[in-house]
Amino acid sequence: MPGDNPFLDPQRFERRIEPCVVVIFGASGDLAKRKLVPALYRLAYERRLPPGFAILGVSRTPLSDDDFRAKMKESVQKYLENSPFDESLWNEFARGLFYEAGDIGNTASFVELGKRLDAVAAERNTSGNVLFYLSTQPSQYGPAAAGLGKAGLAKQDKGWRRLIIEKPFGHDQQSARELEVSLHEFFAENQLYRIDHYLGKETVQNILAFRFGNPIFEPLWNRNYINHVQITAAESIGVEDRIQYYQDAGALRDMIQNHLLQVMATVTMEPSAVFEATAVRDERAKLLRSIRIWKPEEVMENTVAGQYGPASIAGQNVVGFRQEPKADPKAKTDTFAAATFFVENWRWADVPFYIRTGKRMPKRVTDIAIRFNSVPHSLFKTMSDGEQIETARPNVLVLRIQPEEGISLRFSSKQPGAGMTLRPVSMDFNYGSSFGVRTPAAYETLLLDAMLGDATLYTRQDMVEASWSVVQPILDTWAARADDPFPNYDAGTWGPKASDEMLARRGHTWRVP
């Protein structure tokens, strides 16, 4: 075997991708059109793709290669973000676009797919490496993996074979395990790439840089200095066209079971010895396994389910969830979920982690607020109405994920003028504007990583199972309640009162992001 490539210059060249074909199942679907193909085109624009590269779209709709190219061109022009469309580059890129009509439920389709892959590999010199992307209904994951496996397309004798799947990874703990069994029948764990696009966000990755590249924070990053942590992922919009999926899934499954527990793990994990996929994922998995699992009788005190009702927002009437088009008028869907978690290890014992997520909240924001302890003895008090008021406020470090990615630190400063009154001020680092350069979209990062065989930002089966272990008792308890508390918050608010009460029980309040 030849050694490493001596011509590489890692400080200047981006990581190189081996020649490969990306096979997209569900190629005529929304994800392929809006995200996947624009992200791959953008990678071509950045000169990140190898000369031996092709995309093979697979879907039921009969299309010629040229039809597929025309459709994808339209999509790229429409959905390409922060980038110009270059006609001649597109022509070059489009030469590597192919289409094969096929049905996941039909074994013969996979045999045909195998033949087409051989032809594309010969034409484009892709060395037998294939990345399969299942941009399909989750119910198709098992049959697709089986189809690929039975047709011999999962075997790595001619080159690497990798399979990407999108969340949800199961509907509950049981179905997650069933999915695992069906995927593992033909694919080894190191061939599987479970996308959690939150982990592909530049600012989520920046949490690792912030924590492990700046030693001044490490001594403070524990129960001795941190009072509690609040993670908020709020959407101002409703369910829009995701009603069918969302009505069954709800906020806890849709956001907390995957994205937000992963974010929490990123904030709280121990540093890994090296920045490599296995090491980083081991630490994340270890943290997820350390989250206290609520007993059924503890669930209602430590979690809150909510559903938005109709309201008027800025003079505009907004319907409640049950009045949304195609929604079940008696749906028990949680459009808001909040939970208190504890991490049972030495670093985090007794530190509450409050997580909340919801639809139709006052604004779209995702952030992590780390509230430090108050000063042990205050010097700075002021008299008001015969009462001594503490003017020093606890420090809060906020890691903002969206929309304005950055980091801010609240600290106390003397109010200018006579006397010694303190007021909080914020020191702000804005990631996007401090480095006025384009940051790659999450799908660009994640597709690139999968083609490179770097699974650092992908979820692993043990992490999926650990997350379900945390969430399943909550889902079961919520499902078993006899009453119907919904709707219990008005659209355009920060959620039900019970959510505030959950924090109040530990003497805390939600901050307003």
Partner: protein, 332 residues
């Protein structure tokens, strides 16, 4: 005409500038301005035209590399001058609500006031952050009286394409490197897209297996003499292809110096990378052709690349030390 530049006065003016900016901005919105700083960028120019263009480039550059830019405008003739002014360049990043501002200080001086400039700059570099010197007039580095100014920076960026004598340029840059400066040359950055394309060829196992057998590399260039980028390319390839003879083919005219194509041969196997019209690189590997878009090679883009490398650059250092032996090589 002012004849003194006081660091304290400049720093006070800067502080006032930020207060004014914040007031102005808060009158318009409640979001304020962001002050970001990652380095001091010293820009030394010996012509007014260069200085103007460098200031524009720096303003763009500071978006990705926020910092304090100190523009040093040296006047090589005329009366004794030393004066300064401070200003900020602000912009509203796309889709953001906060202005991002970077501060710039401009010092104009005649060459006889170099010692005063050095003293002033010493007092106004940003503490605890790297100081980078970029000279748009590379010949300044060769002047003995400029030696003290060099002491201000650890990293020096030049563009040897602006120097007429390749041999002298490589010798001088090598000397500074040997003396401990972290040298960066924009004429090396121009090769990145070429080197990346060549590296791509060797991503194939079959081409990596060929490395000991590659016996000929031909570099075609536009100029009638070898420019520094051609020498760098030869040194870089030579260090990786031990059995290869490097042949240079010169262009017909002495215009647009630089690499035009690189061909690598091992028996019947052949790969080439060549610049084509419409700003692309054409890559041919064993008869299979492919094109990539050439990124913009503006001064700003090249500087951005160099500033993105915070530490040492051993690959450039190796090419730099190896390039000198090619500077007098014959053309075919």
């Amino acid at each position: 005409m002012a004849t003194a530049v006081q660091p304290e006065k400049i720093l006070k003016e800067l502080a006032n500038l930020w207060v004014d900016l914040a007031k102005e901005d808060s009158a318009k919105s409640a979001n304020g301005v962001i002050r970001a700083c990652s380095m001091t960028l010293l820009i030394a120019s010996a012509s007014e035209e260069d200085a103007e263009s460098a200031a524009e480039t720096a303003a763009e550059l500071l978006r990705a590399h926020p910092g304090r830019a100190i523009s040093l405008r040296f006047q090589t003739s005329g009366e004794s001058v030393l004066e300064s002014r401070v200003f900020a360049r602000c912009w509203m990043p796309y889709g953001q609500r906060q202005q991002l501002c970077s501060e710039q200080i401009e010092i104009s001086a005649s060459m006889d006031r170099l010692a005063d400039v050095y003293a002033a700059v010493l007092g106004i570099t940003v503490p605890d952050l790297p100081v980078v010197l970029w000279t748009t007039t590379p010949s300044l580095l060769f002047r003995p009286e400029f030696a003290e100014m060099l002491m201000l920076a650890r990293t020096v960026i030049i563009d040897t394409a602006k120097l007429p004598d390749t041999c002298l340029a490589l010798t001088r840059v090598n000397e500074l490197f040997q003396q401990g400066w972290r040298m960066k040359d924009l004429n090396w950055s121009r090769l990145t897209v070429w080197r990346e394309a060549i590296a791509h060829v060797f991503e194939h196992d079959s081409w990596r297996e060929l490395i000991p057998l590659i016996d000929a590399v031909t570099i075609s260039h536009r100029g009638t003499t070898l420019s520094t980028d051609v020498c760098y390319m030869a040194a870089w390839l030579g260090a990786r292809l031990p059995a290869a003879k490097i042949i240079f083919i010169n262009g017909a005219e002495n215009v647009d110096e630089g690499v035009q194509s690189v061909s690598i041969a091992a028996g019947v196997r052949h790969a080439s990378v060549s610049s084509s019209e419409s700003g692309r690189l054409a890559i041919d590997v064993d008869g299979k052709q492919h094109q990539v878009l050439m990124p913009p090679q503006t001064e700003q883009a090249l500087l951005h690349e160099e500033l993105s490398i915070a530490g040492r650059d051993p690959i450039f250092e190796q090419a730099l030390t190896g390039a000198a032996k090619y500077s007098g090589a014959p053309n075919v």
